[in-house]
Every structure is written in structure tokens, then in C-alpha cells.
């Protein structure tokens, strides 16, 4: 009985740990740190340029070097990581970005394939599952995950001097 009680206690502790872990990873990551570009583990890509990221955001670049399709995993407009990413890469706001996409569509150009998920953790989980997916998330959230690959941006990793997504 003592053993069973111990097992139950362990299960309970596990559940608590899981739920707190999930809540922690789903919560907002610390703001103001660098952003990281994460891709699927199987990706052969090691580096991406800011120019390529910009083109992906506007639909001008829709496939990776191995011809697999790019799936952009973004976050809601009010998400700080999303705002910072658009500010740094496109110098625009989420509203401005949406208008930009509308114009792309109206001009008959190809649109990027976009999934919107509500947290860094969910974005990372999606990238883990979908080869070809790419997301720009808070570097702190990405570094804690062993399931995705963090790309160098213009040859630099988050935290290094001159990293463009600071």
C-alpha cells in the first residue's frame, strides 16, 4: 500500500510538474531579449539572411534551398515577439504587415503560407512537427527546446555581437 501511495504521489507530482511546465512554456517569454529563427531538426539549413527572412514574410521566397515549401509560423498581432520581428525585419507594424499582404494578394503575387499560433511554445511545437516550417520566437524559449534547430542569421547566433534580431 505504501508503494502504491508512493506511485500515486509520483503520478500527482508528475502531473503538477507537467502542468506547471506547460503553463510556464506557454506563458510569455521574457521580453527584450534576442529573437531566434527556428526550423525543423531535419533541416539542412544552418544560416539564413535577413534578406531571405524578409522575402519569406512577403511571399517572395516560398521554398527552401531543397525545394521544400516554407511554412511561416507566426504569432498573433498583439504578441511582442511578432511585433518585434516585424519591426526589425520589415520596419512595420502587424497592421501594416497585413496591409502589405493584402497588396501582395491584390497584385496577383504569391502569398506566403502562414500558420498563426498563440505562443512561442506552440510555434516551436509546430516547427518540431512540420518540416519546412520556420518561426521567429523569443530566443530564451527556443534555447530551452531540444526539438528544433536555431538558425544563424547573417552568420550569427542569438546573443552574439552583431546579431540582427536583437
Amino acid at each position: 500500500m505504501l508503494r502504491l501511495h508512493t506511485d500515486r504521489r509520483r503520478v500527482l507530482l508528475c502531473l503538477i510538474a507537467l502542468s506547471s511546465g506547460a503553463a510556464g512554456s506557454g506563458g510569455s517569454a521574457p521580453q527584450g531579449g534576442p529573437l531566434a529563427v527556428v526550423v525543423h531538426k531535419s533541416s539542412r539549413q544552418e544560416n539564413i539572411t535577413t534578406g531571405e527572412l524578409r522575402k519569406m514574410l512577403t511571399g517572395d521566397l516560398r521554398v527552401w534551398q531543397d525545394s521544400s515549401p516554407v511554412v511561416l509560423v507566426q504569432q498573433p498581432d498583439e504578441n511582442p515577439s511578432q511585433k518585434r520581428m516585424l519591426k526589425i525585419l520589415l520596419k512595420t507594424t502587424p497592421a501594416g504587415y497585413n496591409n502589405q499582404l493584402l497588396q501582395v494578394q491584390f497584385q496577383g503575387r504569391a502569398l506566403p503560407a502562414i500558420r498563426v499560433l498563440n505562443s512561442d511554445a506552440n510555434a516551436i511545437a509546430f516547427v518540431w512537427n512540420v518540416p519546412g516550417a520556420v518561426s521567429v520566437v523569443d530566443a530564451a524559449a527556443a534555447e530551452g527546446s531540444i526539438h528544433v534547430k536555431i538558425l544563424r542569421v547573417d552568420g550569427k547566433l542569438p546573443g552574439e555581437a552583431g546579431y540582427p534580431l536583437q
Binding site: M1, G51, R62, A95, V104, G108, L111, V116, A125
Partner: protein
């Protein structure tokens, strides 16, 4: 005493045996329960893995959610989850659709999907105007010569008027991963106060890759920058009205801004940093005479097809910069005249960022009547600059159009030039108010002034 002690010992012994048997039995029950729980846990984990894998696949196949309302589910379906892809662990929340989480769905538009069919995205545009001026709004009111031939344009009747703009419905659909269709239908009034329906664009596009895509249908000709960047939704354009040189054919424009035919375009491999693109188009040019509809949708008045070649660069190093040019050639067959070789060359430099817009274009239209020594040249150009300050965007445009008065083909002739200055106020994300003053110098006519206001929106 001894007997009692022995009996006590025996009882104790029996009790101990019973207790040990009971404990062993209880331990066995615990083990069984634990084993059962383990089995259940393992089964649940397997089930969760399967569900998460299915969910990820389903998410990848779903249309893009509301926060990116215009994004199409084009390539996502081509990104299946391989069988060996690991599922997220239990403490890593599975990705889930953002819909229904209060995300932005305010950009409007409708998505129609018939069971088993492709999704049709529909978006509407409309503008409503008010103009005051000694002349009819020189940039919105259709400029025409009212049949006076080459006399220059007569004075347009003065008016102060409210003016319905274009009610444009834009539709697009991703038919397959590589095949898409778009159409733009505009319902708009003209100077006779009657409404007319025009299918302004319809375009079926097949995209092999970034280096090659082909389209067929009625498109905006790739002459210069403005004609391909802006179409019939005035909400997109900073200023009120198109530059005179890019007026639509049925508003007196002299350039063939629409082409009915086929187009191929793409990026030049190996020039990714420079962003070198090319365009080649062939189709029905504009009609040879003024008496028929200027865009030849169904029947061409000649066998000769118009050809247009364009190229532009978008260098990575200067985001927002686009430099390009084009060359258009056609051979018109006007009634009672020899054939006319029409050549249109254009060059432009455009710098467009979310804050800045600086457009500069020059076009030379040349109509060369066979057997006549000199061609009739009509130079035209404009410059436009604007800067965004929050919701406000002041802008300035100066334009110059000199359509050769002796040109036997052009409908609009004469010289038009002057400045426009205005303010665009984006009072909501999808609606804007524009106030614009135009001063237009016109050959053989009095200088025109116009103060125009416009509300333009998308829905």
C-alpha cells in the same frame, strides 16, 4: 503457565503467518494495479502521440487562420508530416489552431468553400468622392476630347459634385498548389451617370517555382511600376486618382494599361541578392481606332499581337527599392491609315517602405505611321513622394504628360502638367480619407484647379 505460553506462541505464530500471507497478497494486488496503470499510461501515450501527429497534419492542411487573413494555404499542404517525425512530449503543448482565440479577423473578406472544392477569397473595395473646382475633378473625372479631334481637350463642364467611385470585387482562389486564379470586377459610373460593369482583370496563373510562372487572361500590362503595383482598389493608392499617364483606357488614358493575352515571369537564378526579375507578355494590344472599346477582350482588329518585355531589380541590400524598365511593341491598324508601329519604353525608380514612398517614372510613347518619316512621340512622367506620420501621410505628386497633338492614334492629346498635394488619413486600418488639391495646366485651355476628397475602404 507453560501451556498458556505455548498456546500464546502458537496464536502469535498463526497471526504472523496470516499477516505475512495477507501482506503478500496485498503486495501482489498493488503490483497488478501498477502494471495495469502502466499499461493504461502506455496506451494513453500512444494514443496522444497518434492524435498529436494527426493534429499537426490537419493543422498543416487547414486554411490560414484569421490573423493572417490573406495568407493562402498554398504550400502548407505540401508539407506533410513524415511518419518518423517525433511527436511533441506531453509537456510540450501540441500546436493548435489560433482561430477562436480572439485573433484578428477584422480585415474582412469572405472565404467561401464548397465541400470538396477550392476556397474562394472575396474582398471588396469602394470609394466615394466629393470634388470642388473650376473644372471637373481633373484627375478623377474622365478626360476626353468629346469628339473634337485634335483640337485639344475642351473645357469640361464645371461642377461641384459627389461622385461614386469604383465598386470593385476582388476574388482569388488557390485551385491547386501551383495553380491559382484571380478576378477583379468593377462596377462604376461614368460621365453619363450610368453604371457600367467591367471585368477588369481575370488571370489564371501556374507557378512552377520562383523562377518561372505563367499567366493567361486580362492583366495589367507590365509597363512601368504604377500599373502593376496599383489596380482598381483606390484604398491601396496613396493619392486620389492615378497619374494621368496611367489613366485607364476608358477614362482617356493613352497607354495600353490592360492586355488580354499571356504572360510569363520569374526571378533570374543566381541573382537572389540583386533580385533580378523578368516579364514577357504577348496579347491583344489596345484597339486601333477610337470607335470601339479600347481593350480587345474578345475580338482583335488585327492579327498582329502586342509584345511587352520588362525587367526590374529589388536588391536585398536596400529593402523597398525597385528599379526597372520595359519595352512594349505593337502594330496598330487604324481604318483609313497605314499601319502604325507603336513603341512604349519606360524606366522607373520606386522606393516604397512602410514609412516612405518615392515613385519616379518616365514613359515615352511613340507612334510611327508607316511611310511617314518621323514618329509621333509623347513623353510622360511623374514623381510622387509621401511620408507616413502615424495615421497621417502627406504627399506630393507632380506630373507631366505631353501627348503629341498630331498623333493620329492617341485619343487624349495635348499637354497636361501640374502638382497635386494631399493628405491621406488612415482613420482605421481598412478605411482612409484623402484630401487633395490639384492644379492642372492644360494646353489650349484654362488652368484647372480642383479640391477633392475621397473616402476609400476595403471590406
Amino acid at each position: 503457565m507453560t501451556v498458556t505460553t505455548a498456546a500464546e506462541r502458537l496464536v502469535l505464530c498463526l497471526l504472523l503467518c496470516a499477516a505475512s500471507i495477507g501482506q503478500a497478497s496485498a503486495q501482489q494486488t498493488d503490483r497488478e494495479m501498477i502494471d495495469e496503470l502502466r499499461q493504461r499510461l502506455a496506451a494513453s501515450e500512444k494514443r496522444i502521440e497518434a492524435l498529436e501527429s494527426k493534429l499537426a497534419t490537419a493543422l498543416a492542411l487547414l486554411p490560414t487562420p484569421a490573423a493572417a487573413p490573406v495568407a493562402a494555404p498554398v504550400a502548407v499542404s505540401a508539407a506533410p508530416v513524415p511518419a518518423n517525425t517525433p511527436a511533441p512530449p506531453a509537456n510540450d503543448p501540441a500546436p493548435h489552431d489560433a482561430m477562436g482565440m480572439g485573433m484578428d479577423n477584422s480585415s474582412g473578406g469572405a472565404h467561401l468553400k464548397l465541400p470538396g472544392g477550392p476556397v474562394v477569397n472575396i474582398r471588396g473595395f469602394f470609394d466615394f468622392n466629393f470634388g470642388i473646382g473650376s473644372y471637373a475633378n481633373p484627375l478623377v473625372f474622365p478626360i476626353s476630347n468629346n469628339g473634337c479631334g485634335n483640337c485639344g481637350n475642351p473645357v469640361t463642364p464645371p461642377h461641384t459634385t459627389f461622385q461614386a467611385g469604383q465598386f470593385a470585387l476582388f476574388m482569388n482562389s488557390q485551385i491547386s498548389n501551383k495553380l491559382s486564379f484571380l478576378a477583379e470586377v468593377a462596377y462604376s459610373p461614368d460621365s453619363s451617370n450610368t453604371w457600367g460593369l467591367d471585368v477588369e482583370r481575370y488571370q489564371l496563373t501556374y507557378r512552377w517555382n520562383r523562377y518561372l510562372s505563367a499567366s493567361a487572361g486580362r492583366m495589367h500590362t507590365s509597363i512601368g511600376y504604377y500599373n502593376t503595383a496599383y489596380h482598381h482598389g483606390t484604398w491601396f493608392s496613396t493619392a486620389q486618382g492615378r497619374p494621368i499617364m496611367y489613366l485607364f483606357e476608358d477614362s482617356g488614358g493613352v497607354l495600353p494599361v490592360h492586355i488580354v493575352g499571356a504572360s510569363v515571369t520569374g526571378e533570374v537564378p543566381g541573382t537572389e541578392k540583386l533580385g533580378l526579375h523578368w516579364v514577357a507578355e504577348v496579347g491583344n494590344g489596345r484597339t486601333s481606332g477610337p470607335s470601339t472599346a479600347p481593350v480587345q477582350n474578345f475580338l482583335s482588329d488585327r492579327n498582329y499581337k502586342a509584345v511587352n518585355l520588362a525587367a526590374y531589380i529589388r536588391p536585398d541590400g536596400i529593402p523597398g527599392l525597385q528599379l526597372g524598365g520595359s519595352f512594349y511593341h505593337d502594330r496598330l491598324a487604324p481604318a483609313g491609315l497605314p499601319r502604325v508601329n507603336q513603341n512604349i519604353g519606360s524606366v522607373y525608380a520606386a522606393y516604397v517602405t512602410p514609412d516612405w514612398e518615392f515613385l519616379n517614372e518616365a514613359v515615352l510613347l511613340s507612334n510611327h505611321v508607316q511611310g511617314v518619316r518621323d514618329a509621333y512621340g509623347s513623353p510622360m512622367a511623374y514623381t510622387q513622394i509621401s511620408r507616413k506620420f502615424g495615421i497621417y501621410r502627406p504627399y506630393f505628386r507632380y506630373q507631366y504628360v505631353n501627348d503629341n497633338q498630331k498623333d493620329p492614334v492617341n485619343i487624349l492629346t495635348g499637354r497636361y502638367y501640374g502638382p497635386s498635394v494631399g493628405l491621406r488619413i488612415d482613420f482605421t486600418q481598412f478605411a482612409t480619407f484623402k484630401l487633395q488639391y490639384n492644379r492642372l495646366f492644360q494646353s489650349n485651355q484654362l488652368t484647372g484647379n480642383g479640391l477633392n476628397s475621397q473616402i476609400a475602404f476595403t471590406f
